[in-house]
């Protein structure tokens, strides 16, 4: 499978997924169903995660077809611009969804009746509507690249896409051209994100495995936002590296593997540590054992995140020349 095929496989999910989740979210809000609200928030977060490879595989697909005579480079760039805006909007939606999910896991009382929580929920609603629109434009401009049958003659390029295309170029010159120190500073931030993530995920999972048994598990969960902040820092800085030199990363097998493991580990983090699945563990007090299944999960999480770090360190050695 090449990156073009991967792009076609991945790119419809964020577009259709956001729309369907938005529908589900609306139903949940109107019917005031807490379980559905949580499910929608979780789905938004997951889509934000999987939008990462959807965007990245697109740059690879563009590399593969830009030489074809019947493809307009302008249309590709417009699509890329629209896709970047949709991606950024999706990530912000994901962050707000996670914050809302977090609020949910913190309290057993209905969190939606409180002022700031309502605001948070409203923010997710607004953001997901904006994201849906941007996703639509990204999808449309993407279709225009290859489907001449849907492009009207003299059809102007999408304005949103053109604005986004400027952003793509602007970010690239920010990361690469402005100063040689931008890259090391981003790397430094990437390291701190890594430390925060490993610290919090590490201590929580080690406890689940039975190290430092005198710690109750419930309060350890309070560290998780720090890990998620770390992960967020790494997604931002990591994506900036990628936008700086996409050609370096696209065909790099080590990098592809790293992204794959991040998706697995990230999905696990979301599904098992940010949902009701974790609440069963909250009651494990000092000296008590966690259930075996939780231990398996904890072990997997530690292995996966360490694999992410090691793969990241080896990216330069996977460079394709």
């Amino acid at each position: 499978m090449n990156l073009t095929q991967l792009h076609l496989l991945l790119n419809h999910w964020p577009i259709i997924g956001t729309l369907i989740t938005l529908g589900l979210f609306l139903v949940a809000l109107v019917g005031d169903r807490d379980d559905l609200k949580q499910a929608s928030l979780l789905l938004f977060s997951l889509i934000a995660l999987f939008a990462i490879p959807a965007y990245m595989s697109g740059t690879g697909a563009a590399q593969a077809i830009q030489e074809s005579p019947d493809v307009s480079m302008e249309r590709i760039e417009t699509h890329q611009g629209a896709a970047l805006l949709a991606f950024i909007s999706m990530e912000i939606t994901g962050v707000f969804s996670l914050m809302a999910l977090w609020r949910y896991s913190r309290t057993n009382k209905n969190p939606w009746k409180v002022g700031p929580a309502r605001l948070n929920l409203f923010a997710v609603l607004l953001l997901s509507i904006v994201t849906s629109g941007l996703m639509g434009i990204a999808g449309n401009t993407g279709g225009d690249i290859r489907h001449s049958e849907i492009v009207a003659p003299e059809q102007p390029l999408s304005l949103v896409g053109q604005i986004g295309a400027r952003l793509v170029a602007g970010i690239q010159s920010f990361v690469i051209d402005i100063s040689m120190w931008i890259w090391p500073i981003l790397e430094d931030i990437h390291f701190f994100g890594l430390i925060l993530l490993l610290a919090t995920v590490g201590v929580l999972n080690l406890r689940i495995l039975g190290v430092m048994k005198r710690l109750p598990i419930g309060p350890l969960h309070r560290f998780l936002p720090w890990g998620i902040v770390g992960f967020g820092l790494n997604v931002i800085t990591g994506f900036l590296f990628y936008l700086g030199m996409p050609g370096f990363y696209n065909l790099n097998v080590v990098f592809q593997l790293k992204i794959f493991v991040i998706l697995v580990a990230g999905a696990q983090l979301l599904l098992f540590y940010c949902t009701g699945a974790f609440r069963n563990l909250e009651h494990v007090g000092p000296g008590q054992d966690a259930p075996t299944l939780a231990k398996v999960m904890a072990f997997a999480a530690i292995v996966l995140w360490i694999a992410v770090i090691i793969l990241g360190r080896y990216i330069p050695f996977g460079e394709v020349t």
Binding site: M180, W181, P184, I195, L198, A199, M212, P216, F223, I309
Partner: protein, 132 residues
């Protein structure tokens, strides 16, 4: 690095008031994990030093990094002595005793990691050919 700094960061954050319901004393168990990370780093760092001696020794940043690591480890040890050794302290006592130390240890770890990362960008001689 993740083990060493990660474990330190958890201790420091707890002392500074994150996850207040979590008892402080059992976090002493993180010290062995710190030491595992520390010795892995000493080992691999020494190998890198043997591989590229001029790269590090001719760079001021390298000495800055070592100083920062030294200070950070020293402060973690101070925390261990002041906060974790005496039995019967309450969590509030432990936090009060460790507050300043914990904040400084975070500053030094920040410095150590930053200095270390910038080593890759500030060296003058990556290798030196003795045969001229």
């Amino acid at each position: 690095m993740g083990l060493l700094v990660g474990a330190s960061v958890v201790i420091a954050l707890r002392i500074l008031g994150v996850a207040r319901e979590l008892p402080v004393a059992p976090l002493k168990g993180l010290y062995p994990i710190m030491w595992i990370g520390f010795w892995i780093q000493i080992g691999s760092g020494t190998l890198l030093l043997i591989g590229y001696p001029t790269k590090a020794f001719t760079n001021v940043d390298f000495y800055l990094k070592l100083t920062m690591i030294g200070l950070a480890v020293a402060f973690m040890q101070k925390i261990k002595k002041k906060v974790f050794t005496e039995a019967g302290l309450t969590d509030a006592d432990m936090m009060l005793r460790g507050k300043t130390l914990a904040a400084w240890s975070l500053v030094f770890w920040f410095g150590a990691v930053t200095a270390g990362r910038f080593l890759a960008y500030t060296y003058t001689f990556l290798k030196y050919d003795f045969r001229g």
